[in-house]
């Protein structure tokens, strides 16, 4: 997995490329926490180039979203393909996250 970080105004965009699973979820966690240390409060995770996610990957997204809310911010998601959308629906995490169908729509929503 690799992460590509960019900025759009005060939103930090983290694009996940590859699988977000037990062996690498800590990388995403650390990247987001580092960004919050630098003052970021709006995080967008873009899954446009992601593969599959396991329960560990889902779990790290849940804990990061909670952390951002505690800081008065928000973590949102964009570009989930059908498989990822299914995972979020199965686990009812689509009720916990704001999920946009494109990066543009996500950025507009912040």
């Amino acid at each position: 997995m690799s992460l590509h970080v960019s900025r759009h105004g005060d939103v930090v965009i983290i694009e996940v490329e590859g699988q977000l699973i037990v062996g690498n979820r800590q990388e995403l966690k650390q990247q987001v926490l580092d960004e919050t240390e630098r003052g970021a409060r709006k995080i967008l995770v873009d899954f446009g180039r992601a593969g599959y996610i396991d329960s560990s990957g889902l779990g790290v997204l849940v804990s990061l979203a909670k952390r951002l809310r505690e800081l008065g911010g928000d973590l949102r998601l964009a570009n989930l393909n059908d498989d990822l959308q299914t995972l979020f629906e199965l686990t009812k995490l689509d009720a916990l996250f704001q999920i946009a169908d494109s990066r543009e729509h996500a950025l507009e929503s912040f």
Binding site: V22, G23, D54, T91, A95
Partner: protein, 139 residues
């Protein structure tokens, strides 16, 4: 295509081993023309969960312990067996529903749930080690 010889692996308890195993099993399923969604979602996620459980829970993340994986793929179904060397973890005890509101914000507790939703059958038994058997019918 019929039946090939089963894929068999024995790996140390290291989560970095998971992706390679998943790739091989998915490739074998692709050869047997499993549905695209089964190749991109059901098989990789469920197998990753089973391997992760075996490595982290079953074998206590002890790299000196091993996990055995067997994947038998026919034109009709995939049968996966994942065996760890631990003393056993009770799958049935991990039955809290992660989708109810009070559990939704938990970081853990979704692995077994996903295996059960993505596979047609999930079984556990002991035969020396602890074995989880996952079955998926080809669509």
């Amino acid at each position: 295509m019929g039946t090939d010889a089963a894929l068999e692996f024995r790996i140390p308890s290291d989560v970095q081993q998971i992706e390679g195993i998943v790739e091989r099993v998915v490739h074998r399923c692709a050869e047997h023309r499993f549905a695209a969604r089964q190749l991109s979602l059901n098989v990789p996620v469920a197998l990753t969960e089973a391997l992760s459980n075996a490595i982290l829970r079953g074998n206590g993340d002890d790299v000196s312990r091993h996990v055995r994986v067997r994947a038998e793929v026919t034109d009709g179904e995939l049968v996966l067996e994942v065996e760890d060397e631990g003393t056993g973890f009770d799958l049935e005890a991990c039955t809290e529903d992660p989708t109810i509101p009070e559990n939704l914000e938990r970081e853990d507790g979704r692995g077994l749930f996903l295996m059960q939703r993505l596979m047609d059958r999930v079984e556990r038994y002991r035969n020396g080690g602890n074995i989880v058997r996952l079955t998926l019918h080809r669509r």
